[in-house]
């Protein structure tokens, strides 16, 4: 069993940026060093179940017996925060990408929006634009705005909903930085596009 855990860890670890190096004097001991950022994030999200993950593991072993000779070594086994973070994260790409909390939430937003619109008779096909611009120009700008927003949202890892609103309520520093930057960017550019809306 420890051999299986070791082989899995040594072979799957590099996929998530964890590279144990076998010790020159003892084949049961590996040096590891700083845990990769992605594994640390995965570990933090599982903290309630497997405990706090360390930022750094100098030396680890998969053999409990090795602890006798090396009491300073961390014993990694299923249930250990590092092991669970690593294996959960290594397995992620094999789950169906659409089987995600956010996908169901996305569908919910569509349904909720439609229900509200239908209740107040706001459901109608049409293009929303300013009084002095054409439909074609509005659509082209909407596409362009979508592309640009997507780059911003992917770079910041979130948009107005998931980063600014949600994170803002938890007082996350990055959320408020993002929110103020959005307003700065928006008000900075708004003047140059005023003819589209005024």
């Amino acid at each position: 069993m420890p051999e299986v855990v070791r082989d899995f860890f040594v072979q799957a670890g590099p996929l998530v940026g964890v590279r144990p190096v076998v010790d020159a004097h003892d084949a049961d001991v590996f040096s590891l060093g700083r845990v990769s950022r992605e594994v640390e994030v995965a570990g933090n999200s599982q903290e309630s179940r497997f405990g706090r993950i360390g930022r750094e593991y100098k030396r680890i072993t998969f053999q409990k017996g090795a602890l006798k000779d090396h009491p300073d070594v961390e014993w990694v086994t299923p249930g250990h925060a590092l092991f669970e973070a690593g294996q959960g994260h290594a397995r992620k790409p094999f789950a169906h990408p659409l089987d995600d909390f956010l996908v169901y939430m996305f569908v919910g937003v569509i349904i909720g929006g439609f229900v509200s619109g239908a209740m107040d008779r706001r459901v109608a096909l049409g293009t929303i634009k300013g009084p002095h611009t054409s439909n074609a120009k509005r659509i082209l700008l909407a596409i362009g705005g979508g592309v640009v927003s997507a780059f911003g949202a992917r770079l910041a890892r979130g948009c107005t909903s998931g980063l600014a609103l949600t994170g803002g309520a938890t007082l996350a520093v990055g959320s408020w930085v993002f929110m103020l930057a959005v307003f700065a960017g928006g008000y900075g550019l708004a003047y140059f596009l005023r003819k589209e809306w005024l």
Binding site: V16, G113, I139, A150, A156
Partner: protein, 148 residues
Amino acid sequence: MDALAPVSKVQEWAPSTVALVALLLGGGFGFFLEKAGFGNARTLAGQWYGYNFAVLRVMFTAIVVAMLGLFGLTAAGVVDFSQVYVNETYLWPQLVGGLIFGFGFVIGQYCPGTAVVACATGKLDAMAFLGGFFAGIVGFTLAFPMPF
């Protein structure tokens, strides 16, 4: 899926339960987003051109209500705040990403959530925005591949 840690900390929920909760939360969000008038680019443009500040009012009210609820329930011992997801800080990406996102917002006059509810009520410009948004996500992913 462990997005529901503060609600259920001792056991994992069945995937179908998680999906249902996500659907309901999304439904509530979409409903009130649309109800507030955010499914219309003209309302959203109002905040940039000073003729309608509904966006700022609703947005900051929502943040304050969520904040009071969250920290109030934490103080009352109902919520375990250590289990609540707090967005990680990546200062420069969030600063630069926010600026770019702000540009995109003013160019397209939607943000992703508002575009979704505007789509749901038949706004063609919102469908164009979301089309551009998904194309942008694909473009970003191809330009900056990340393992996960």
